[in-house]
Symmetry: C4
Subunit: 201 residues, 4 copies
Amino acid sequence: MESNRVEAFSDGVFAIIITIMVLELKVPHGSDWAALQPVVPIFFNYVLSFVYLGIYWNNHHHLLKACGRVTGGVLWANLHLLFWLSLFPFVTAWLGENYASPARTFAAVPSALYGAVLLLASIAYLILQTTLINAQAEGCESQLALALGNDWKGKLSPILYAIAIASSFIHPWIAGGIYVLVALIWLVPDRRIERALLADR
Amino acid sequence: MESNRVEAFSDGVFAIIITIMVLELKVPHGSDWAALQPVVPIFFNYVLSFVYLGIYWNNHHHLLKACGRVTGGVLWANLHLLFWLSLFPFVTAWLGENYASPARTFAAVPSALYGAVLLLASIAYLILQTTLINAQAEGCESQLALALGNDWKGKLSPILYAIAIASSFIHPWIAGGIYVLVALIWLVPDRRIERALLADR
Amino acid sequence: MESNRVEAFSDGVFAIIITIMVLELKVPHGSDWAALQPVVPIFFNYVLSFVYLGIYWNNHHHLLKACGRVTGGVLWANLHLLFWLSLFPFVTAWLGENYASPARTFAAVPSALYGAVLLLASIAYLILQTTLINAQAEGCESQLALALGNDWKGKLSPILYAIAIASSFIHPWIAGGIYVLVALIWLVPDRRIERALLADR
Amino acid sequence: MESNRVEAFSDGVFAIIITIMVLELKVPHGSDWAALQPVVPIFFNYVLSFVYLGIYWNNHHHLLKACGRVTGGVLWANLHLLFWLSLFPFVTAWLGENYASPARTFAAVPSALYGAVLLLASIAYLILQTTLINAQAEGCESQLALALGNDWKGKLSPILYAIAIASSFIHPWIAGGIYVLVALIWLVPDRRIERALLADR
C-alpha cells in the first residue's frame, strides 16, 4: 500500500486546520486601532498554532517520505494524530479569547487545555512514528536514523508540555513561555539536519 | 478513466467534513472547568463521528485501490456517498447540542436523524461498491474478494442502524450504544484483514 | 504545462464549496420534528446545489482529461469559473432562507440571483471550454467531439437560466422548476454518452 | 526532496482561503434588492481578493514548476507566504464591513491593514523566490530568467503597497485605487509572458 493517498488526505486536513483557525479572528465592529486591539492577542496565538502545525506538517512530510509503506495500523495512527491536531482551532480560540479578556490576562484552564492537546498530539506523533517503523518490511534505517536524530526533541517535548500544563495553574505566562520555547526547539535545528541530509548526498 | 482525480476530490471532501465538525465545538465564554462542561458531550459526539468518517475513508481507500476503473455511474455513486457524509457535521452538532441540554439527556429525534444519515451513508456505500464492481472490464476479483470479506459488516450495519433509529424513540441511550457498537465492529477486525492481506503477498 | 496542479487546485475548491454549503444548515435549537421543519427547504436547496456542483465537477473532470494542455489563459478561465461557483453557498443560503420564511414561499430576488449565478457559471464554463480548445497545439478532436456532443446542453442551459431569472418575477416556482429541469437534463444523458465513450474503446 | 507534496499542501491552503472568504458574504435577512445592497461593496472586495489570490496561485504554480527542488528552508518560506495569505479573509472582511457602513465610505485603518497584509505577502513571496533559487543544486536559469522577467513587478508591488498604506490616512479611495492598479499590473502582462514562453518552445 502506497502512502500517496494518506499524504493527500493528511495534507487536506493540515491545510484546513491551519486556515480554519483564522476564522476565529473575528472581524472587529469599529474601524480604528482600538477596535483592532482585542484581536492582537488572538493573532499572536494564531501565529503560535500556525507554527506548531507547520512543524507537524514538516515532520509528517519527512516521516512519510522516509518510510512510505502504509498498513491499516498506520492509517489509524495517522487519523489519531490528525484528530488531536483538529482540536488546535478550538483550544487556540479559547486561549486567545481569555487572553484578550480584561479580567485575567491568561487563564489557567484554557492554557492547560492547550498544553493537553499539544501533549496528546506529540504522543500521537510518537505512536505514528513507531507504527510506521514497524510497518516497514525492509529497513528504511538510514533515512529513519536521520529522522530519529530528531528523536530527543520528540521525547523532550511531551515532558515540557506536561510541565507547562502543571505551571498553567501557578502562572499561565510560564506555560505560554514553554509553548513558545518548544516551538523554537523544533524550528531552529531542523535546518541544520536538513543541511546534514543534503551534504550526505 | 482513472480513479486518481476521484480519489483526490473525495479526499478533499473527507478532509473538510472531518475538520468542519470541530467548528461545532463552540468556544466557551468562561475560562474555568465549568465553562468547558457543556462542550464535553459534543466532544464525545465529535470523536464518534470522526471515527465513523475515518472508517469510511479507510474503506473508500481500499475499495478504489482494489478496483480503479471509474465510469460516470461510479462518479455519481461516489458523489451520492459524499452527500450523506457531508451531513455528518449537521447531525453530529444537533445530537450534541441536545445531549448537552439540561432538560433531556439524549433527545429522540436528533438521535434518530443521526442514525438515518448513518443508514443512508451505509446504503450509498453499498451502491458505490456494486457500481464499482460492475464498472470493471476484467475481474479484480482476488482483491475484491478480500474487500468483500468485509461484506457481512456492510450488510449488518444498515440493519443495526435501522434498529438504532427505532430504539431512539424508546430510549436514545440504546441508539447511542448501537452507534458505538457498529463503529467498534468496523474498527477492530479491519486490522485482522489487513494482516491477512499482507501475509498473502 | 500540465493540468495536474490545475486539477488538484480545482478539486480542492470544488470539495470546499460543496461542503461549505452544509454549514448553512443551521442546527435547530429544539429537539423535535417541529424544530427540524425550517431546515427542510434549505436541505432541498442544498441537494439541488450539490447536484449542480457535482455536474460541474464531472464536466470539468472530462474536459481537462480530454485536453490537458494548460496556458495562462486557461488558468484564469478556470479561476473565473471557480469564482462563480464559489458564490453557490451564498445564493443557496439566501434562496433557502426566504423559501423557509412564512410570509412568502419563494422570494423573487433570491430566486433571480440564484439563476444569475447559474447563468454566469455556465458562461464561464463555455469560456473555459473555448480557451482549452484554443490552447491545444495538436487536435484533441476525437475526445473533444464527444465532449462537444454535450454542447447543445452547454448552449441551452444559459437560455433556460435567463428564462428562469425573468420568470422569478412572475412566479418564483416556475424558476425553481427550471433549475430542477436543467439539472435533470445534465444528469440523465451523461450516462448515455459515457456508455458511448466506453463502447468506442 | 520533490515539490509534489508542497504543491498539494499549498493548493489546499489556497483553495480554502479563496473559498472561506465567501463565508464573509453574510446572507441578508430580507428578500429584496435593498437587503442585498450592503453585500455589494463586500462582494467587490471579495472579487479583488479573489483576483489577488488567483495571481499568487498562478505565480506560485510557475515558480515551483521552474525550480522544483525543495529544502527545509523552502518549506518554511512557503509556510510564511501562506501565513500572510491566510489573513486575506480577515482583512477583506474588515475592509468590506467598514466600506459598507453609512458613516465613512472607506475607513483608513482597515484599508491600511489590507495594504499591510498585501505588503507582507509580497515580501514573503520574494523571500520564497530567493530561497527556491538558492536551493537549486544546478541552475534552472533559463526558466527562472523568464520568471524573473516578472521581477520588476515583484519589486514594484511592495513599493506601491507602502504608498497605498500611507495614502489610506489621506484618502482611503487612493489606496483602493492602488490595490486595483497592482492587481491589473499582474493580471494583464502575465498573458504576454505566457505567449513568449510558448513561442520559445
